[in-house]
């Protein structure tokens, strides 16, 4: 039975001023979704061989727009919007100073996005989202990316300051779970983005400005992947926040264990950074010993991933049995299958099973040769970020946006949201499965349509590329549906109070030990692991540096 105190807790609203800041981020995220998604659709059509881009637009130009806007901008902005709201909801309204930092961060990031996007749209930076040297973009593109990173540090500082303030006001108490998770995610982001900021500021900017002629490609790629892999977890952890903290409340259950959730987040912080080499397993210039070591550290993230799987299944089973579910799987039927706030992220969780399995294959050292640089990898990250993470973000947006705008998710919109997720799943199953299979046949990623001089092998790939175009088209319909729902929730839905669901911890769970809040321990281990994994290989790279490369612009 719900007590009056519990009911009052459910009605806690995010302060309007914090809500405005969160919404500003969410607006940019969904504008990026539209433009980036449209470019994704065009890509799949071009690769089918039945469509040519008009007005001299290049394939690699739209590929860059797609990757940068969806991989870097949509994700970062939605995450920041969600995190600001989550911190404000659970640790209290931001102070004026913390909110000001949030706004400064937002505008610095947005100026950066405009700079980088303008250069990509002007075809001055078709360097794909990984912006690998020696492909050389216009210097404004790199400066724009620097602004995005620095802006995220400023905005992130506002959220961290709120956490520090809460800890000072509540000595000896564990912080609100979702605020703790936000701080872990920001720590991961700041430590990781130092790598890409170093590469952009000290290598790519001076080189693109013509101050230096050559760039060390190996170091720039290594610094990129030092950032690039934790980036994946920076996307994933907010989805885990929804799975661990929000979903139990939506289904009427409890969080299985606060300590287990914190432990898994700490393990993600420790094991998602010193692992970038598993993206460089075919890279010359790095000894196989250090690659192997980072492969081992990579596979350590299987532990918190399986802890999460266990915790979520347990939450579902306990709730389903409480509602009368019998037998081994009878509890599944009792879950709220007509509630979009649960169903949409749930599909994302299911997608993470094949996504995670694929990731283990990718990271398995020599076995990486089977899939390296094939479109299997594209299929893989469309399951992780574009299904598990994105469907969870959609599911969260369906209650977060109306919560912030003072509106409600109506029954019609709830039904449409479930249809949207089904459309997405169908489109992604077709596209991603085709990408995985044809990738195993050797079809390359990051490649315009080509018959490779009439090669028989390339001809075998074409039916799969057609399947990708069909799946991509269905996915674009999914984007239009999502935008329609979001527009409704922003401007047209009836006024009312939509809950910001925050789960409570099960009475069966053990008391949370305070060691999780001891940042000295976790940050020290994190830095030691990074130094252990990267120091010797970096010394090798510098002492045996390959000749630098001039810049190339192939577009």
């Amino acid at each position: 039975m719900t007590t009056i105190t519990e009911k009052a807790k459910d009605l806690v609203k995010v302060d309007k001023r914090d809500g405005k800041l969160a919404l500003a981020h969410i607006y940019v995220a969904f504008i990026s979704l539209f433009i980036g998604g449209l470019c994704g659709l065009l890509q799949t059509l071009v690769r089918s061989g039945h469509f040519t881009l008009p007005w001299g637009i290049g394939y690699y130009q739209i590929l860059t727009v797609h990757g940068v806007l969806l991989g870097l901008i949509l994700t970062t902005y939605f995450i920041f919007g969600f995190q600001i709201a989550a911190v404000s909801r659970t640790a209290g309204t931001l102070t004026s100073k913390q909110r000001l930092l949030g706004w400064i961060g937002f505008w610095v990031m947005t100026v950066g996005v405009v700079m980088a996007a303008t250069m990509v749209l002007l075809n001055e930076a078709s360097v794909l989202y990984t912006f690998y040297a020696p492909l050389q973009a216009h210097w404004i593109f790199y400066l724009g990316l620097t602004f995005v990173i620095v802006g995220s540090w400023i905005g992130g500082a506002g959220q961290i300051l709120k956490y520090i303030e809460w800890r000072k006001a509540n000595p000896g108490k564990p912080s609100p779970l979702i605020t703790f998770m936000v701080v872990i995610n920001l720590a991961l982001w700041i430590i990781a983005s130092l790598g890409v900021a170093t590469s952009v500021l000290f290598q790519l900017l001076p080189w693109s400005l013509g101050w230096v002629d050559k760039v060390d490609v190996l170091i720039s790629r290594t610094l990129f992947w030092y950032f690039g892999h934790p980036l994946v977890y920076f996307w994933l952890l907010p989805a885990y926040m929804v799975w661990y903290v929000v979903i139990p409340k939506i289904i009427g259950g409890k969080i299985f264990s606060d300590s287990l959730a914190r432990l898994s987040f700490v393990l993600f912080l420790l094991f998602s950074i010193p692992v970038g080499f598993h993206h460089q397993l075919t890279e010359p210039g790095i000894s196989s010993f250090w690659k192997f070591l980072q492969v081992v550290l990579t596979l350590m993230v299987v532990i918190p991933s399986l802890l999460t799987a266990f915790s979520l299944f347990a939450t579902f089973e306990i709730r389903g049995r409480m509602l009368g579910g019998k037998g081994i799987f009878g509890w599944l039927k009792k879950l709220p299958w007509n509630d979009a706030r649960f169903v949409v992220p749930f599909i994302g969780m299911v997608a993470f099973i094949p996504a995670g399995a694929g990731g283990i294959i990718n990271a398995s050292h020599q076995m990486n040769q089977v899939i390296h640089n094939t479109i299997w990898v594209t299929g893989h990250f469309h399951l992780t970020v574009a299904t598990s993470v994105l469907l969870t973000f959609f599911g969260a947006a369906y209650w977060l946006v109306p919560h912030l705008t003072g509106r409600v998710l109506t029954k019609e919109m709830n039904r449409l949201a479930i249809i949207q997720a089904i459309v997405w799943s169908v489109g992604m199953s077709i596209m991603s499965t085709a990408m995985h299979i044809v990738g195993l046949f050797g079809a390359p990623r990051r490649s315009d349509f080509s018959t490779y001089g009439g090669s028989a092998q390339a001809a075998e790939w074409i039916p799969y590329q057609l399947a990708q175009a069909i799946g991509g088209t269905i996915l674009f319909i999914g984007i239009i549906l999502a935008l329609y729902i979001i527009a409704n929730l922003l401007w047209f839905a009836p006024k009312g109070d939509e809950e910001f669901p925050i789960g409570e911890v099960s009475e069966h769970a053990e008391k949370t030990p305070m060691v999780f809040e001891n940042w000295k321990i976790w940050l020290t281990i994190c830095i030691v692991l990074i130094l252990f994994a990267y120091t010797v290989p970096f010394i090798d790279m510098i002492q045996n540096a390959p000749p630098g490369s001039i810049g190339y612009k192939f577009w």
Binding site: L306, E317, F329, V370
Partner: protein, 40 residues
């Protein structure tokens, strides 16, 4: 933990579900391993 609590927490379904995830990971990994051995 009391017996009553243990009875409340029937997690058999969770055990089977996590077991399925583990088996799925192993099966897909060995399929890819087979391809690797065939090709390299």
């Amino acid at each position: 933990m009391s017996n009553k609590k243990e009875k409340e927490l029937n997690l058999k379904g969770t055990l089977y579900s996590v077991g399925f995830v583990g088996v799925f990971i192993l099966v897909t990994w060995f399929m890819a391993f087979y391809l690797f051995i065939e090709r390299f």
